[in-house]
């Protein structure tokens, strides 16, 4: 079964500094990968997704992620964060070869933007 590991439960970053949120997934022949963001008291919103093709995926709000098959990673990056990026970020994986489209979520990384 697929699994996702988000190595950091919290990441503090100064405003306008770059940030990387780490995500590793269990190895599989093929995967779909996602990053979701959850603002306080709201549901999840899709930031970006990797289905196939280019390993560098660009998403909304200036975020991007790189699919690295050899390292089974899908780290999320932003070159300059803003206070409005304060939220919880979830990495997720699904198996395109599976019978259903079940998405397995990581435990989340809380991004704290420091003034």
């Amino acid at each position: 079964a697929q699994s996702v590991t988000q190595l950091d439960s919290q990441v503090p970053v100064f405003e306008e500094a770059p940030v990387e949120l780490r995500c590793n997934y269990s190895s599989s022949v093929s995967v779909y990968l996602f990053w979701y963001v959850q603002y306080p008291n709201q549901g999840l919103q899709l930031l970006l997704k990797y289905l196939s093709g280019s390993t560098l995926v660009k998403g909304i709000n200036g975020f991007e992620a790189e699919f690295n098959k050899s390292q089974t990673s899908f780290h999320l990056r932003k070159p300059s964060v803003h206070i409005s990026d304060t939220a919880e970020y979830f990495c997720a994986v699904s198996d395109p070869e599976g019978r259903d489209d079940k998405i397995i979520f990581g435990k989340g990384t809380r991004l704290h933007i420091l003034p």
Binding site: Q42, G43, L44, Q45, P96, D101, K102, F105, K107
Partner: protein, 113 residues
């Protein structure tokens, strides 16, 4: 287009009581999901519907949880009786069909005392 609607947004009940949550997916979305998100964890799928049929309910505690989507549109998730460990946010999501992007509602925060 309107997003996924959920009600109520917040609910506080005592253990052993019953509670029901309602979800209205985006119009035209055939697939509907219920997730449980315990504080400090990622969402966990409870049940997935394709139209009015169940695709996956392997992680639904069937002794106390039930869900239905009788007309293939809106859905209800019920807990009876509730336990303290059921305190969580219950998220509903929908997608146009299986494999497509899932859109999430704002969730219902349940507190069991």
């Amino acid at each position: 287009e309107a997003g996924v609607a959920q009600s109520p947004r917040y609910k506080i009940i005592e253990k052993r009581q019953s509670v029901a949550f309602w979800c209205n997916p985006i119009s035209g979305h055939a697939t509907l999901y219920w997730y449980q998100q315990i504080l400090g964890q990622g969402p966990k799928l409870l049940i997935q519907f394709q139209n009015n049929g169940v695709v996956d309910d392997s992680q639904l505690p069937k002794d106390r949880f039930s869900a239905e989507r009788l007309k293939g549109v809106d859905s209800t998730l019920k807990i009876q009786p509730a336990k303290l460990e059921d305190s969580a946010v219950y998220l509903c999501a929908s997608s146009r069909r299986q494999g497509n992007e899932q859109y999430f509602g704002p969730g219902t925060r349940l507190t069991v005392t």
